[in-house]
């Protein structure tokens, strides 16, 4: 109950940021970026954190969603919302199809195969000039069309959209984790063979969560290119796939709030504090080692432990 209230206050605060800090458009820009990373991170958290599937090609699926929507909007003249739905569907379908192949492998073999597919998807985005416009990027992607009286042309309103989308992603995650479906995912992470012997069709559930995770990646991808007004392959590169893995792990894999905390610390903080680009990697290398050593459950784990200690101290 207390947790729910805290989450509600936090969400209200986040929605109030544009009014509270009206003279700081850069802060809002950074918060939008956080949302754009948190959304695919939620998808990966369901796969990596809850099911134990470490995918190293996650942003490739965000790219499938993004480029599908881009082509439909720019070349086919479809509206944003239709293109968003199509992008989500394309990412989910690709996730199910490619997932069905990757999931024939386990543990580090699975990781390598997802890495290979991520690189392949990147190569397609980078080289299929006729459709994706290749390495030069895909320009002219429109911001979302107005929804009733609400237009998303301004930074402030786009922030509301990105925040709402992130909220939807987190609600989906919450629903899944509390369902029997989510319980089966967690069981698969703990012991796949035992789960199977108790009647779980492991391949079906793992493919399903791969598709769901990819759909969420697609949602993030479509919003990302709509925000930047251009789709470029580096947004969906191998480095970005690694970044999203780090967002999940730094935030706390298998924790509901993990992707939000990870995005805030891993994407938001360095961007806002403008740490020089090269030093950022060194700094995060050190931070990651420290985190692995002292907080293997990520920031969410640290927060949970602190909370427990606080509760024990005040009877």
């Amino acid at each position: 109950m207390l947790k729910l209230a805290a989450a509600a206050v936090l969400v209200l605060l986040l929605f109030a940021v544009p009014t509270l800090a009206a003279e700081e458009p850069y802060l809002i820009h950074v918060l939008v970026l956080c949302c754009l990373y948190a959304i695919p991170a939620v998808g990966l958290n369901l796969m990596l954190g809850y099911t134990g599937l470490v995918s190293l090609g996650h942003m490739g699926f965000a790219g499938i969603g993004a480029y599908t929507a881009a082509v439909l909007m720019v070349d086919a003249g479809l509206g944003f919302w239709g293109a968003l739905a199509a992008g989500l569907f394309a990412a989910a379908a690709a996730g199910a199809a490619i997932g069905a192949v990757c999931l024939r492998f386990r543990s580090h073999f699975f990781m390598i195969v997802t890495l290979a597919f991520g690189l392949m998807l990147y190569a397609v985005m980078n080289n299929w000039d006729d459709v994706t416009r290749g390495a030069a990027g895909f320009p002219g992607i429109p911001r979302p069309g107005p929804l009733g009286p609400l237009s998303f042309a301004s930074l402030q309103n786009f922030y509301y959209l990105a925040l709402s989308a992130a909220l939807v992603a987190f609600l989906v995650q919450w629903r899944v984790v509390r369902s029997d479906f989510g319980r089966i995912l967690m069981a698969l992470r703990q012991d796949e063979r035992l789960s199977q012997s108790r009647g779980v069709n492991a391949m079906f559930y793992k493919t399903a969560v791969f598709a769901l995770g990819s759909a969420l990646a697609g949602l993030g991808g479509v919003l990302h290119v709509s925000f930047l007004r251009v789709a470029a392959p580096p947004t969906f590169s191998f480095a970005e796939s690694i970044n999203i893995v780090l967002v999940v792990i730094v935030g706390g894999a298998g924790a509901l709030a993990g992707p939000a905390l990870g995005a805030a610390v891993y994407v938001g903080l360095p961007e806002y504090l403008r740490v020089a680009a090269e030093w950022r990697l060194v700094l995060f290398g050190v931070l990651l080692v420290l985190l692995m050593r002292f907080a293997p459950r990520g920031i969410a784990g640290l927060v949970a432990d602190g909370w427990q200690r606080l509760l024990r101290r005040s009877p």
């Binding site: 029997d180 319980r183 967690m186 069981a187 703990q190 012997s197 108790r198 009647g199």
Partner: protein, 235 residues
């Protein structure tokens, strides 16, 4: 029609034949002990029957239905339940959630709660219902795993060394529990075991495996005095 039958099972690993024409038919329900010296093929037989590995030749049938090579989750739905030699539980789930897992997967969790609590109580784990399984001792984990398979309402139970690593006090609980469950639902229990005292007092019939085949079967008394079995064990 046999409740359980394997015919002519062959399984080779490289140049080693773990099973060479292993056949076994069991018609009547009961607790059957499966014993044999190391390397006799007990575990391979288990793996083939429970769908973990496919045999090179031969067949497995349950109630006359061919199930050779059927994957584990489908076997579970057909009523074949198993425990693991290395003892497997979901360490992060509570004891109660460990038991409720199978009913949840099958989509009939609603009525299962009372049964889960009753079974936990039978093995003195009721007060651990809301504790995570990781907090249990090894022997208690064995009990939890064993209790868990009954939530599947199985028709055939395959228990892989249920007594291994269990201390004498818990062993009595375990033995009593298996006996009690057999009285409640007389189905087919196939128990691989190295603890002779345990299995001889529990089983009504003993099947001895040796060099990838069934060497002999009979009552515990007959097996204990069989010269062939003695020779297989002592070489």
């Amino acid at each position: 029609m046999s409740a359980f039958a394997v015919r002519g099972l062959v399984k080779r690993y490289g140049g080693v034949s773990a099973l060479c024409g292993c056949s076994l038919e069991i018609d009547a329900p009961g607790i059957y002990g499966l014993i044999g010296p190391n390397g006799a093929g007990k575990t391979t037989l288990f793996d083939v029957v429970t769908g973990i590995t496919e045999p090179d030749a031969g067949s497995v049938t349950i109630d006359g239905r061919e199930v050779t090579g059927v994957v584990p989750h489908r076997l579970a739905r057909l009523g074949l339940a198993r425990t693991f030699q290395e003892c497997r539980v979901f360490p992060e789930f509570t004891c109660l959630d460990n038991l409720m897992f199978a009913p949840r997967v099958a989509g009939n969790a609603r009525g299962a709660h009372a049964e889960a609590m009753r079974l936990l109580d039978l093995v003195n784990l009721a007060h651990f219902a809301d504790e995570s399984a990781a907090t249990l001792s090894f022997g208690q984990r064995r009990l939890l795993e064993l209790v868990g398979v009954f939530m599947l309402r199985p028709r055939i139970l395959m228990l892989d060394e249920p007594a291994a690593g269990v201390n004498p006090a818990l062993l009595e609980v375990l033995s009593a529990f298996i006996g009690r469950m057999y009285e409640e639902r007389p189905c087919l229990f196939l128990v691989v075991e190295h603890n002779m005292e345990f299995i001889m007092s529990l089983a009504r019939e003993i099947v001895v495996m040796h060099e990838g085949r069934v060497l002999e079967r009979g009552s515990p008394e007959a097996i204990q005095s069989s010269p062939r079995v003695m020779e297989a064990y002592l070489g």
